[in-house]
């Protein structure tokens, strides 16, 4: 099989060249530091940019589901600048200090949430050779890092000294910790299939076909379970009971204002993107192009599309799926959320894991 497409846009050699060039004019530690700073800035910029794109997308998509047009005034006909205006507004808002709040934890919480989100965000395989955090236990690291977020939510709820936020945080805690099990097991399923925990390795193992096709029934089932659990993990409807505005006004971030609230808001949208990105990596081949066996001409055309386009395209497709779900269903109640996890998803994902292992052993997956 023709493997050359992997090298079309591989930027790893380019990055290596840049690194060598920098080392030739300065000591290596300085080069590393500078690179670190540049990459960090790029991450944060991408993070902010993607958040804006996602918020705009959410507003337009949800409007279309609701027979509306959505933002259409700021910045021309499509309302393209609406989100920029919103961000600008939120930046200029006062950050309120609460009287009886635990000041330190109250201020720390939004940073914890955003930190977890950014670290996870950095692990995504954007492009061939453009993975920012690369380690051989990558997917395990993602699971670990994303769990920091719940700490921020619990702290926010506790430290605000409000009854609404407390209930929201406790709900969120119960829910996210439960759903991490399903996520863990479905991720494990795919690790079994790919035979590696390295995110880059998982993507590379899909060069001759995406996991969701190669793994057929168990992979598709795992994909669905992962999407549901991931949706819950991102605190989005129908699992948004932590911030159920009809019950708790805004849940754990009721008492936050200005950019502190903005952090929660950004993190929520980026978590949506991260969930989708991981789903893309595990099931839809990451940045791998779409190939149909036998159609060489078609496959060659697909190869000319850069990996980052593939990755973003697939991820936004999953994002759209999740938005579709969010804007269709009513919210679950806390006991139903837990019932769904412990009585349906958990057993199901365990069965999937067993089936996948059996399939792998007997070579039933391709």
């Amino acid at each position: 099989m023709n493997q050359s497409f992997l090298d079309y846009y591989n930027i790893a050699p380019l990055l290596a060249t840049i690194h060598e060039a920098m080392c030739s004019v300065m000591p290596e530690w300085l080069a590393m530091t500078l690179e670190g700073i540049v990459v960090g800035v790029i991450i944060i910029l991408m993070y902010a940019l993607l958040a804006i794109v996602l918020i705009y997308m959410e507003r337009k998509v949800c409007a279309a589901f609701q027979c509306r047009i959505g933002p259409n005034r700021v910045g021309g006909k499509g309302g393209l600048l609406q989100v920029f205006a919103d961000v600008l507004k939120i930046l200029t808002k006062e950050i309120i200090k609460l009287k009886k709040a635990d000041r330190l934890l109250y201020n720390l919480a939004p940073y914890l949430v955003i930190l977890a989100s950014i670290i996870t965000f950095s692990c995504l395989p954007w492009h061939n050779g453009a993975q920012i955090l690369h380690m051989n236990i990558g997917i395990f690291f993602v699971l670990a890092a994303s769990s920091i977020g719940i700490l921020g939510i619990l702290l926010a709820g506790w430290s605000s000294n409000s009854k609404y936020t407390l209930i929201g945080a406790v709900r969120s805690g119960a829910m996210i910790i439960s759903y991490e099990l399903s996520i863990g097991i479905t991720v494990l399923t795919m690790v079994v299939m790919s035979g590696t925990m390295d995110i880059h390795g998982i993507v590379m193992s899909q060069e001759n076909g995406w996991n969701i096709f190669k793994g057929h029934i168990p992979a598709i089932a795992a994909f669905i379970v992962y999407l549901i659990a991931g949706n819950a993990e991102a605190n989005r409807g129908p699992f948004d009971l932590a911030e159920a505005e009809q019950e708790l006004t805004a849940g754990y971030h009721t008492e936050y204002s200005g950019m502190h609230f903005g952090f929660f808001y950004l993190a929520e949208y980026l978590n949506l993107f991260i969930t989708s990105g991981i789903a893309t990596t595990l099931f839809l081949g990451g940045w791998m192009p779409f190939h149909i066996a036998g159609l060489d001409g078609f496959n060659a055309v697909m190869d000319y599309i850069p990996g980052i386009v593939w990755f973003l395209g697939k991820t936004f497709f999953v994002v759209f799926l999740l938005m579709w779900i969010r804007w269709t269903f009513p919210r679950l109640r806390i006991d139903q959320v837990l019932t769904l996890e412990w009585k349906y998803l958990m057993p199901l994902s365990l069965v999937i894991l067993v089936v996948m292992t059996v399939c792998k052993i007997y070579g039933l997956v391709f």
């Binding site: 209930i167 019950e247 006004t249 269903f329 009513p330 109640r333």
Partner: protein, 539 residues
């Protein structure tokens, strides 16, 4: 009139007045015995207390009790009064009819009558530090200057009771204990459907008690009406339950027409009936929207609003108003129907019948929705009758209480329609009652819309309308229950006392019964399916 004979047997001193309607006047000590006997009657127990209308007759303070039997729909009106204006005391009936718990508080709030053995004698609408009782005729309008201090709700309440030796004593009851986790829901809250405040005691996610705090949109409509002429009082009714604007105004017009002996034309009756039913569809569509939104589904919310918009356009074309239509007037309706009215209504019904499937597809059948609604907030038939929870709430628990069926008015005895009844009494039944009623209303309109007879839309009335002395009442089936108007006229051009039976007040009172032991999220769903509108509760 065997009912009256029965009363006279228990209380030989009772007088039967023919004063606009038949009223049985009782001394306070007889009243309690008569109430108990009527309530526990074997054949037709008077188990539905329609309303308690507090009154100030000058020398005496008292109340009118409107009773109805849920078995044979017979009605009786009792009157009792006390001459002690300093410390007026009447026996409570809140152990016989649960709805009296809140209605007696209303009477206490406005007239200062305290009810013996009522466990919770707090003010209902007004601030706890309010001076005087505003609906008394000798109330000084300047006694309560604008107070900007925040009103702190006490966690205790007082009860007045009678010692065995006949002396009156007071004791303190607790509303919320010191260690209870009380969450304030409202008055500014996304899902209280107005400015309702519910102090909710939670045990984790479980609701232990709900204490509604009312009065945030109290405008004193009843007090205001006492100084308005009859046509002017009409302007207030649209502003009570704004989703039953037509029906409320219909009730008041009917009551005044009945008292003044005005006969309205057939055409006006047709138009009124069609408008009432359109209003009901409007209200139920909004109910759907709000219920779905309260449960977190924002998309179907817009479906309801999309179709409701078409009704509002029809209203606006004919009446000139969308929410506040001002359409019914004494003697008919304000203006003839617009030439396009019939065609547009028919188009709308056709459209609604087509899209209602989407409503059910996206929400009714949905597994999340059904599991959240089924078996939640169950009310038994006895409970709803005792609570006076009329309308869809009552019918969902198997209480056939449709005024249109059992005390027909306008054209309801001529059209064919089904009284939608469910027996489960849970949130899902309450939801389905409304969804089915939309279809029934369409059915009623379809029977009438092509047959509107020619004729005047309004009969000429005297420029100044005065009602003969007496007590009058009229009730209609509003969008969310029985709406009654009670007028006591002393022959002037404005009413001596005008009272509205709020459809929402018993429903708000039902919250506590329905929510106990349910989850916090259920409280929102129960509130949405009970479907109250606050301007109508507070008046």
């Amino acid at each position: 009139m065997e009912l009256i004979d029965k009363i006279l047997k228990i209380a030989p001193n009772a007088t039967v007045l023919d004063y606009g309607q038949r009223i049985v006047e009782l001394a306070p000590k007889d009243f309690r015995a008569v109430a108990e006997a009527l309530r526990s009657d074997k054949v037709a127990p008077m188990d539905y207390l329609r309303d308690i209308v507090g009154m100030d007759w000058g020398e005496t303070l008292g109340a009118l009790y409107y009773l109805e039997s849920s078995k044979d729909y017979s009605q009786v009106t009792l009157k009792t009064a006390t001459a002690d204006r300093e410390n007026p005391l009447l026996p409570t009936v809140c152990d016989l009819w649960k709805t009296a718990e809140i209605k007696e508080r209303e009477v206490y709030d406005f007239y200062g009558i305290r009810f013996l053995n009522h466990p919770d004698m707090r003010r209902l609408f007004l601030r706890e530090d309010w001076v005087g009782y505003p609906l008394r005729k000798d109330y000084d309008m300047n006694s309560n200057p604008l107070d900007l201090e925040s009103d702190v709700n006490a966690d205790t309440t007082e009860e007045v009771f009678l010692n065995p030796d006949g002396t009156v004593a007071e004791k303190e009851n607790t509303v919320f204990g010191k260690d209870e986790f009380v969450v304030n829901i409202g008055p500014q809250h996304p899902s209280t459907h107005g400015v309702l405040r519910m102090r909710t005691s939670l045990d984790g996610e479980m609701v232990r008690k709900v204490d509604p705090v009312l009065g945030y949109i109290h405008r004193g409509v009843e007090k205001m009406s006492e100084s308005l002429t009859y046509p002017q009082t009409l302007a207030m009714t649209d502003r009570l339950d704004y989703l039953s604007a037509h029906q409320s105004r219909h009730a008041l017009c009917m009551c005044i027409e009945k008292a003044a002996g005005i006969e309205i034309t057939e055409r006006a009756n047709y138009i009124r009936t069609i408008m009432d039913e359109l209003q009901r569809i409007d209200s139920h569509l909004l109910f759907y929207s709000c219920l779905v939104m309260d449960m977190g589904g924002l998309t179907p919310f817009f479906y309801g609003f999309r179709e409701r918009e078409m009704i509002l356009d029809i209203f606006e074309e004919t009446t000139g108003g969308r929410l506040i239509q001002n359409y019914n007037v004494i003697g008919g309706v304000q203006a003839d129907i617009h030439p396009t009215f019939q065609q547009k209504v028919k188009e709308f019904i056709k459209h609604l019948r087509a899209v209602i499937k989407d409503y059910h597809d996206i929400f009714t059948g949905n597994v999340i929705a059904t599991t959240r609604l089924k078996g939640v907030g169950v009310l038994t038939r006895d409970q709803v009758v005792s609570l006076g929870a009329t309308g869809g709430t009552g019918r969902a628990s198997g209480w056939a209480n449709d005024v249109r069926k059992h005390h027909p008015y306008a054209l309801y005895d001529k059209v064919d329609f089904k009284e939608v009844l469910y027996n489960d009494g849970d949130c899902f039944a309450r939801y389905m009652v409304r969804m089915d009623e939309i279809m029934e209303s369409c059915h009623i309109i379809e029977q009438l819309i092509d047959n509107i007879p020619e004729g005047d839309y309004k009969v000429k009335t005297k420029p100044i309308i005065k009602l003969p002395e007496g007590v009058y009442s009229a009730s209609v089936e509003a969008s969310r229950g029985e709406f009654c108007v009670f007028i006591e006229s002393h022959g002037d051009k404005s009413p001596y006392r005008l009272h509205y039976r709020s459809t929402g007040l018993p429903l708000v009172h039902t919250m506590d019964t329905a929510c106990r032991g349910q989850k916090f999220a259920d409280l929102i769903a129960i509130g949405a399916t009970l479907d109250f509108v606050l301007p109508d509760v507070d008046r």
